[in-house]
Symmetry: C2
Subunit: 313 residues, 2 copies
Amino acid sequence: MNVTIGIDIGGTNTKYGVVDREGNVLFHDSISTTGYDEFETYIKSLSSEIKKNLGGNQVVGVGVGAANGNYYKGTIEHATNLKWKGILPIGEMLKKEFNAPAVITNDANAAAVGEMVFGAAKGMKDFIVITLGTGLGSGIVSNGQLVNGKHGIAGELGHTTVNYAGRYCNCGKRGCLETYVSATGIKRTVYKLLADHLENSELRQISFENLNTKMITECAQRGDVVALAAFEYTGRILGTKLAETVAHTDPEAIFLFGGLSLAGDLIFKPTIKHMEVNLMPVFRGKVKILPSGLQNQAAPILGASSLVWSTLK
Amino acid sequence: MNVTIGIDIGGTNTKYGVVDREGNVLFHDSISTTGYDEFETYIKSLSSEIKKNLGGNQVVGVGVGAANGNYYKGTIEHATNLKWKGILPIGEMLKKEFNAPAVITNDANAAAVGEMVFGAAKGMKDFIVITLGTGLGSGIVSNGQLVNGKHGIAGELGHTTVNYAGRYCNCGKRGCLETYVSATGIKRTVYKLLADHLENSELRQISFENLNTKMITECAQRGDVVALAAFEYTGRILGTKLAETVAHTDPEAIFLFGGLSLAGDLIFKPTIKHMEVNLMPVFRGKVKILPSGLQNQAAPILGASSLVWSTLK
């Protein structure tokens, strides 16, 4: 049977899987991303693990989602979350290993293509996927095609500005959307609220390093006022900003994917409310905010593999 | 010879022309948009004028650029600048008149397609056109295709927000980009500056009704401090906001078209400066801000006619 390989390279782990034309993950596993000093050794080891588990299937392509993945060049360039510096020619290397074409893109673009091919955006031609992880990534689809942009780096909504005098961002600017809306962003918001207000909160007992989205979600579900206020604050900023994104590409739906989106109504309700209020009237009531249809362990693998299926169509 | 008809419907005048495959305008003229009580009479009269001037050429399509033009439906819907209310089935009507397909879109989208087919965006696949008239319109091209969006109303950058407590906008919101950056926007800025500051200025002698972009430009060229400050203020807001637009679609270039863009360095310099400062570092130095290649009388006709040529490819 013809299969594709989907690879999702994160700063800590690299997930990979073997995926058939219908989106069934025949096999998946992961290796440590940090355990290899040389990029070549990492690719050799990853490829060898995958080949062991092909079960006689024929690889027709390899898809990779990675931060700073460059679609046009097939490279990962100056990634801040990897130990290997400079320009990594991963596409060329995987092409040799599997004797099949390799497609590279950033992880949020992979998620958008995955949503279109296997997820909740099936049949849609104009939509956006927002990935809420450590940062905020985005993939934009218009006319049924991924918007890559001239330099292959379109969809950086995480670095549009909420407040020009706001929080410091890894990118060097201030007040970027992802400093407010992401796993890290909501932690910063919890700490801001704890600093500004006097309310009791379970969250006063947890250090910044130990705090995570799951804890904040569970606190909010127990009625903790600070945790609830943090979600309201986060959704207000996300919704307000998404109203501007709608004015750009007029999507049918915006999908939220990743940790923060698993909080359900806690994040969706304020996001929808503040998007609607801030939309230009002609767009009101027209754009859905929905959970990703790929909210599971294998989603990043499906996204990366769908990159290949979508080019083979 | 095969020709297309380009029609640009403005609130005051309707410009039309006969255009060949190379973008030569074989004939152009205009009629009053306001002189007809019935939309049917207006279309009859417009069609009759055009037919008189075809000179034996074969019409292969009609392109229309109009505010609130709906690409998918071939209609003009609830236009605030026309006396005919509701939904106007202009596509169907022109198709009957000329026995040829008719394509309708909003005027800024027509300008973007015109720029791609006949203007300075020839050969570009990812760019944006900003039209600076009474308001601010925009047309986005990605992957060589116009971004129309799910509802056919993409590219409303004029209604992204500069200041949530800012100037009142016709759309019902506050602080929209076009309330600062447009022919009307710079007039409002001049009046704000005259109110806030004590400097002498020629502009103190002119009423709001009588003031226009050309006067402000000429005053600035003579060194008038208020006029100069108004351009700096306008360019700062435009450049800052365009940095966010770049993060969405990663264009090769952004073209400025229309009255305000004719002020040259007065508007381009602050726009470029403030866009660069506010860009996410990975985009810096990569995106050009350029004047439209269609800055002449016949540009709107070329834009509308190119809509047809681009669909015939």
